[in-house]
């Protein structure tokens, strides 16, 4: 035994009575134990015991879904810490921000992590959505998981948007004012929706408490549940999409209704798509360590990036919210600036029709685009039309967002980017 001391200590612990009661399998040494480790652990059993080499390649998914998940976990952790200090009251919320910055141990860095992780999560969830589109991974039998993914994308925006108000500074107040005004443009339901969101006609204490409850309980709980279903469906729908996916995979999923004129053993009920179906055994490797190690490594990398941003760049905090003194221009959060730019041309078309159509198309996409060609390959030639349309929409969204973020100055008129902000206060 020439193993290093930490490893020997670990092995001693795992083999001890206490260690066995906790870990059951211990550090796996054989292929049997590797499978057992995955199956017997609560955290690991969400994943298959074996995965295809294709799924492990960095280029397959770029890890975008996992990164989103890790950011979500970081947000839950840092968010819980922030909840110990935050008070959702218009009198105290801003002071809590100041206290986090100036007196709470690690308060500033935790808030920074939460803020940067939130922005990154919006970005990575969007990138993940793009990846799924460009690899055609939303097609049968994964249509429903695409729907859950779309819901998670909207929930991510909702989480970020509700969190945006909580610091109760000028940035928060006016971004939410602008954002909810956009919601108010919807015909018939718009004004009511806005009233429901804000608990009134303007952003105030009622809006703050609603946004807080949505931000810390409702949306995270729903998102957490949907994330679990999302991951579970990945397994049940045959693992990650891959180019050599057998055609009978789809049938197997869809023939999961069994004749009722006989009795079944459990093994027969559990048929359908496992990640192994239709796959050459040589293509597969054990999840431990090939998948688990990669996941841990990626997690470390995400934590490192978020911490790096949090240590060196502070989250913004402007003056305390002042309902009678709007900044000019008042801007929505960055991911809604494309929308705000559209609204500046036409409230109805930009605020209602375009976003409504986009969401409708996202939801209906897997049921409209039903061909199975090109699944599991990036930018498949067979999908050139769909990919081009999607890329154009994406490019338009990016251009609009960049214009809204950088090129719009006072009164939403054109300006050169990175102008110094106008001096505070208009008329004396």
């Amino acid at each position: 035994m020439n193993a290093p001391l930490p490893k020997r200590l670990w092995q001693w612990f795992v083999r001890s009575r206490v260690g066995r009661s906790v870990f059951r399998v211990g550090l796996p040494e054989s292929n049997l134990e590797r499978s057992q480790a995955m199956v017997s652990s609560f955290l690991l059993h969400l994943q298959p015991a074996k995965v295809s080499r294709h799924a492990l390649k960095a280029g397959t998914t770029l890890g975008l879904g996992l990164i989103s998940l890790y950011l979500f976990l970081i947000l839950i952790g840092t968010g819980l810490l922030l909840m110990f200090y935050y008070v959702p009251s218009t009198d105290r919320a801003y002071d809590a921000m100041k206290d986090l910055q100036f007196v709470v141990s690690a308060g500033l860095v935790v808030r920074n992590m939460h803020r940067w992780a939130a922005h990154l999560m919006v970005l990575f969830v969007l990138l993940h959505l793009c990846r799924v589109f460009f690899t055609g991974a939303y097609k049968r039998p994964r249509e429903f998981n695409w729907l859950i993914g779309t819901a998670l994308f909207l929930l991510t925006l909702g989480l970020s948007f509700t969190g945006y108000l909580l610091p109760w500074d000028q940035l928060a107040f006016w971004a939410i004012t602008v954002g909810t005004n956009i919601a108010g443009y919807a015909p018939v339901v718009g004004p009511r929706l806005k009233f429901l969101l804000l608990g009134g006609n303007v952003v105030g204490q009622e809006a703050l408490i609603r946004f807080y409850a949505l931000h810390v309980i409702v949306l995270p709980a729903v998102a957490g549940l949907l994330v679990a279903i999302h991951l579970w469906r990945v397994r049940k729908d045959g693992g990650l999409s891959r180019p050599d996916e057998p055609a009978d995979l789809v049938e197997q999923v869809e023939q999961s209704r069994l004749p009722t004129n006989k009795t079944y053993g459990l093994m027969e009920l559990a048929r359908g798509t496992t990640p192994l179906v239709g796959r050459n055994p040589e293509d597969d490797v054990f999840s431990w360590p090939h998948l688990v190690f990669r996941e841990v490594l990626l997690f470390l990398a995400v934590v490192a990036v978020v911490m790096f941003l949090a240590v060196f760049w502070n989250a913004p905090l402007e003056q305390v919210a002042n309902p009678v003194h709007p900044p000019n221009p008042a801007k929505a959060p960055w991911y809604f600036l494309g929308l705000q730019e559209l609204v500046s041309y036409s409230a109805f078309w930009g605020g209602v029709v375009v976003p409504g159509l986009l969401v409708a198309v996202l939801v209906l996409l897997p049921y409209l685009d039903r061909g199975r060609a090109g699944v599991g390959r990036w930018f498949a030639r067979e999908r050139v039309v769909a990919n081009t349309v999607f890329a154009l929409c994406l490019a338009a969204a990016i251009v609009l967002t960049v214009i809204g973020s950088l090129f719009r100055g006072p009164n939403w008129s054109w300006q050169v980017p990175w102008q110094p902000p106008p001096a505070a206060g208009g008329e004396p």
């Binding site: 100041k98 206290d99 100036f102 007196v103 690690a106 470390l300 949090a310 240590v311 003056q319 004396p428």
Partner: protein, 461 residues
């Protein structure tokens, strides 16, 4: 485990170390905050100065920690004393900041008032730049020391405070220059320019000074006439404007507002309508005794007790209990003791004739700001048909009856006839004073305006 996994160990190590280093950096920054440097310096100084071993031990054992003054009534938390530790220790007199002693705080103890209510800045902050408010997104930077006096005016009437002479002068300049003709302050004044109730919280001293001398340079398009203040007057009115923060102080602080003085007493005497029952100089009510020589009959202590609760010292008296605070009672007593000085008594508006009262009205509502001293005119109003000036009022008696003039004042004139219709309209106009100037005051004002016409010119036409 197959060898291909060994490459991960490098990754784990590198990323683990990176995360570890970031945690250490974050922790180090957290544990080495700017304020700790100042606190250590103070404690070193305390150790150095310790005369006896127990003092030394005490100094050495003082923990490094945030010090703060919680002011829930004021909605403030002032952590200034985290660095300025010796503000209450006179033995630190003359020390350089941040360890200097703060003199003259007996009237405003730190544990009740904190620091930022007077000095401004950001009380919750614990870095020099942020605490002094010289950072983006903080609108109340520390007042330069020479303007700290402005803060007295947040609670005390400017004129009442003998310790703030420049502030009192600023108020005089404000009233005498007729600023109220166009600007409202405390709900009194015209509507041509913006309200000034919160101007002190919004504007810096530099901005204010630039604005007084040449308004259009800092507010493009402003129609405000440039003011010709002397240097001390400019400083004084800047100070007075800075004192107008619109902040109201609650409870205990409000009860401490009145600094007793004869002037405050005079104002109270006027406001509460004492003259309705009592007489001065033979004028006033007959229900209560005449007060001309009350100072000879009563002791100051008796008067204070009487004001606070008349029944307590004069059982059966019909004088109502006004609910004066201790300070107000003292102020009234001061005033009554000064009554032997005839000027004091005669300056009461209720003892004046209509013309004198009208002159006060003319002054109070800032008519002078546009119509000039004694209504002599001369204030520029670009592009007005009246020689590009606000018209003088010297001869209004010739053009109007008293009723017409009163109507003219109450109704105002929004549109001033331009000299050249192509140029921008004249910026100054006559606001409607109805609802602002009281009815009785209008009659006095008209009487005063009619008196402006030089004597002996009646036959000149």
């Amino acid at each position: 485990m197959d060898g291909s996994m060994r490459k991960f160990y490098g990754g784990f190590t590198a990323l683990g170390l990176l995360v570890g280093v970031l945690v250490i950096v974050a922790y180090y920054r957290d544990q080495h905050r700017e304020w700790m440097i100042y606190q250590r310096r103070y404690l070193q100084e305390e150790v150095r100065r310790a005369a006896t071993p127990p003092q030394r031990v005490l100094a050495e054992r003082t923990p490094i920690q945030i010090r703060q003054i919680l002011l829930p009534e004021l909605g403030r938390v002032d952590r200034c004393t985290t660095c300025h530790l010796a503000v209450e220790d006179p033995s630190y007199g003359g020390y350089p900041q941040p360890l200097a002693y703060h003199p003259l705080h007996d009237q405003h103890p730190f544990d009740r008032f904190g620091c930022t209510i007077c000095h401004r800045g950001q009380g919750r902050a614990t870095t020099v730049a942020a605490a002094h408010g010289h950072v983006p997104h903080w609108d109340a930077p520390m007042l330069p020391l020479k303007y700290t006096e402005a803060s007295c005016g947040q609670c005390h009437q400017a004129a009442d405070n003998p310790a703030a002479p420049a502030l009192a002068r600023g108020e005089q300049v404000f009233e005498a220059s007729g600023c109220r003709g166009c600007h409202k302050l405390g709900g009194v004044g015209g509507v041509v320019g913006p309200d000034l109730d919160k101007v002190g919280a919004r504007r810096s001293p530099e901005w204010l000074k630039a604005h007084f001398l040449a308004p259009a340079t800092v507010t493009p398009g402003s129609g405000m006439p440039p003011q010709k203040f002397s240097a001390p007057d400019l400083e004084a009115i800047t100070l007075f404007m800075l004192s107008q923060t619109g902040e109201t102080v609650p409870g205990f602080y409000a009860s401490m507002k009145v600094i007793p003085s004869a002037a405050v007493g005079r104002r109270l005497f006027q406001q509460k309508g004492c003259i309705g029952c009592h007489s001065l100089n033979g004028q006033g009510g007959k229900i209560g005794p005449a007060l001309d020589d009350v100072g000879l009959r009563r002791s100051p202590e008796w008067m204070v007790a009487h004001f606070r609760d008349p029944q307590a010292v004069s059982p059966g008296t019909v004088m109502p209990r006004f609910g004066f605070t201790e300070g107000e009672a003292r102020a009234l007593t001061d005033f009554l003791l000064h009554l032997r000085d005839q000027q004091v008594a005669l300056s009461l508006p209720s003892l004046m004739g209509p013309v004198e009262r009208g002159r006060e009205v003319f002054r109070t509502y800032g008519c002078i700001g546009c119509h000039g001293p004694d209504g002599k005119g001369g204030v520029p109003n670009p592009n007005a048909k009246t020689a590009e000036q606000v018209p003088a009022l010297t001869y209004v008696a010739d053009g109007y009856t008293k009723a017409e003039l009163a109507k003219r004042i109450l109704g105002g004139q929004r549109d001033i006839t331009p000299l050249d219709p192509k140029r921008p309209p004249p910026p100054l106009y006559m606001p409607a004073w109805g609802g602002i100037i009281k009815e009785a005051e209008v009659d006095d004002l008209v009487a005063y305006l009619f008196s402006l016409k030089p004597k002996g010119e009646d036959l000149g036409f």
